[in-house]
């Protein structure tokens, strides 16, 4: 019988070699990344991709071979994701993130940050007042496990000791730092994710976070240890509370976008807010890492109140300048 008596046969015979070439290049890329391609092959890729796309359009119009159309669809999809996928260098990306993207994302959320901070302060002040009036409130705010003996029944001497305790041999500094970092990061990510549920749970988390700090301070203040306790808490607390505030702000922005999307569709608004929030959150994890180091190492190694307080002030200044100092726009 006559070879290639169908148009679709000739169509396939003419182009099959190109398809197979594209397929083999793609298989290599998917295994080993774009670096496995030589320069010529990199240049060849988009050309082959467009050929495959046009083959697909053509095949849909003239060929009734489902196997062929299915193959071309899968081939084009794979090629599409390579040609239009992300391929920027990781180091460059990282530098760009810290130089431009992160501060810009944080600045864009200034309203949410303010709300988040106010909620936390309100929680803190409220708890401080309540515990100062009636120490029993302390138990409502601080779980037993976390207090570990630091409650209204403790002696002043004991409380003073906890502020200046060196880590014991059992509790190595690095373990403590690792624990604090992972614990806090998880809480921050949680605060962000909870924002999706229309902001309220995040607001609750912020207030509660403030309450815990307020209750602790009130306890120490009642024994005349207010300044010392502030130094103990704020040496890392500035960084940590700021990070949690930002996480809450990112959560609020997502929740707000879901609840009040404005002129866009709810889905689009949520996606925009989610991505911007994620940018903030990636940085928050870094901040919490710094906070974990400060809490795990610096607080144990530095015992002087003045130094602790000046580190707290310095970190507040540094973060503030880093985020909110006006800067040039990112070069395109």
């Amino acid at each position: 019988m006559a070879e290639l008596q169908l148009k679709s046969h000739r169509f396939r015979a003419e182009r099959e070699a190109d398809w197979r070439r594209l397929e083999s290049l793609l298989s290599r890329v998917e295994k080993g990344g774009a670096r496995t391609l030589s320069r010529d092959e990199l240049v060849e890729m988009p050309v082959l991709y467009r050929q495959a796309l046009s083959s697909l359009s053509m095949a849909r119009a003239i060929s009734l071979d489902q196997g062929l159309v299915g193959y071309l669809e899968s081939l084009c999809t794979r090629a599409y994701f390579f040609v239009y996928g992300t391929r920027s260098r990781p180091l460059e990306r990282l530098a760009g993130f810290f130089a431009y993207e992160w501060p810009a994302a944080v600045q864009a959320l200034w309203r949410e940050t303010l709300v988040s901070a106010l909620l936390m302060v309100a929680g803190g002040v409220g708890a401080f007042v309540l515990v100062s009036r009636d120490p029993d409130w302390f138990y409502g705010f601080i779980p037993q496990a976390l207090a570990s003996g630091r409650d209204p029944t403790a002696t002043t001497a004991f409380l003073r000791d906890t502020l200046y305790s060196k880590a014991s041999a059992h509790e190595a500094l690095s373990t403590l730092a690792a624990f604090l970092f992972t614990h806090n990061s998880q809480i921050a990510i949680f605060a962000f994710a909870l924002g999706f549920a229309l902001c309220l749970p995040t607001a609750g988390l912020m207030i509660f976070n403030g309450c815990m700090a307020g209750a602790f301070l009130a306890l120490f203040a009642s024994r005349g240890l207010a300044l010392q306790a502030t130094g103990w808490m704020m040496i890392h607390g500035v960084t940590e509370l700021f990070a949690v505030t930002l996480a809450g702000a990112a959560g609020f922005s997502v929740g707000w976008a879901v609840a009040f999307p404005g002129e866009r569709t709810r889905v689009d608004a949520a996606a925009d807010a989610g991505r911007r929030g994620a940018s903030v959150m990636a940085g928050v994890v870094v901040m919490l890492f710094v906070a974990g180091l400060l809490e795990g190492f610096a607080r144990q190694l530095i015992q002087a109140d003045a130094v602790r307080l000046s580190i707290a002030a310095a970190s507040a200044l540094a973060w503030g300048l880093y985020f909110y100092l006006p800067r040039r726009a990112r070069p395109a």
């Binding site: 099959e16 196997g67 994701f81 992300t86 994710a193």
Partner: protein, 301 residues
């Protein structure tokens, strides 16, 4: 044309433009070609997630065992603090960065997703950014770990009521993908992504050319070839590719009956179907070139 004696069917009402089938989604490239992606089903995604969970569990167990072995070799002093740090950080990194790390690679899929033939794409067809990947995975806290924490929570009286309410409230997020067309989970919604089925497919031989045993001289009349349309052709293609003997025999009998085939010589079912497929495709494709696409057997030939 099929049968001149048959009463003419009243003209069929014009079809509405065919909506995309259930589970498929339009995905137009900048070149203007619709790639038609298949949305991953809820079951496939659950499967992928379970696989990933098992892999993570396996890694954690492997780390623990490795540390134990290292500790047993007394010379190598692997202090318990170091072990603790490794474990804490290992768990944290796995829980948060296993998904993010894999989905940021060119394949945009975790090992579990890859095993199920899935990948993550943006809904608008743009680049999948690191932010989107981070956002979609950070939301997992809400979808998996929050309900899990309610699952393990205990309480009495009012507390128990609160736990139940919390479980219901967070359960909404778990089942979220079941209630939208694109099977989006919360993270997909917050990141503008979706998960699609993107299996690798191989180019299979053209059945009309290299199909099973094309016997020369097996000719069909035009009337016989006009019995079916594109839809039936595609079914026939599937039958031939699967080559399940019983199905082939059944289909062959049906077609022989329908077109009134009287065998001049005995041919096997497979050869008959192969030849009929080639003939039908040649007929339909040549009609297609003249701008007539016969959707199925009910369509006017």
């Amino acid at each position: 044309m099929t049968d001149a004696a048959a009463p003419r069917r009243p003209p069929r009402p014009a079809r509405p433009p065919r909506p995309l089938d259930e589970g498929w989604r339009e995905f137009v490239t900048p070149e203007g070609v619709d790639l038609r992606l298949k949305i991953a089903s809820f079951g496939e995604r659950c499967g992928a997630f379970i696989l990933d969970g098992l892999i993570m569990l396996g890694v954690l167990i492997a780390i623990t065992l490795l540390l134990l072995v290292l500790q047993l070799r007394a010379n190598f002093t692997y202090s318990s603090e170091a072990a603790q740090v490794t474990w804490l950080l290992g768990f944290f990194l796995l829980r948060n960065f296993y998904f993010i790390g894999f989905e940021m690679r060119p394949g945009a899929a975790t090992p579990g997703k890859r095993a199920m033939g899935l990948r993550v794409v943006t809904r608008d067809g743009g680049r999948l950014t690191a932010n989107a990947v981070f956002a979609r995975n950070a939301m997992r806290e809400l979808e998996v770990f929050l309900p899990a924490s309610f699952l393990f929570a205990t309480g009495l009286g009012v507390d128990a009521g609160l736990v139940v309410l919390g479980a219901i409230w967070s359960g909404v997020f778990v089942l979220f993908p079941l209630f939208n067309r694109d099977r989006l989970r919360l993270g997909d919604l917050a990141a503008g992504t979706m998960v699609v089925k993107a299996p690798r497919r191989v180019l299979r031989p053209d059945l009309a050319r290299d199909g099973p045993a094309l016997v020369g001289g097996l000719a069909f009349t035009e009337a016989q070839l006009d019995a079916y349309g594109v839809k039936e052709l595609h079914v026939l293609e599937e039958v031939l590719r699967k080559a399940d003997r019983r199905t082939v025999a059944e289909v062959s009998t049906r077609i022989r009956g329908k077109i009134g085939w009287e065998a001049p010589l005995e041919v096997s079912d497979m050869a008959f179907l192969g030849a009929y497929y080639a003939g039908l495709r040649a007929r339909l494709e040549s009609r297609l070139l003249f701008g007539h696409r016969r959707a199925d057997k009910f369509d006017r030939p």
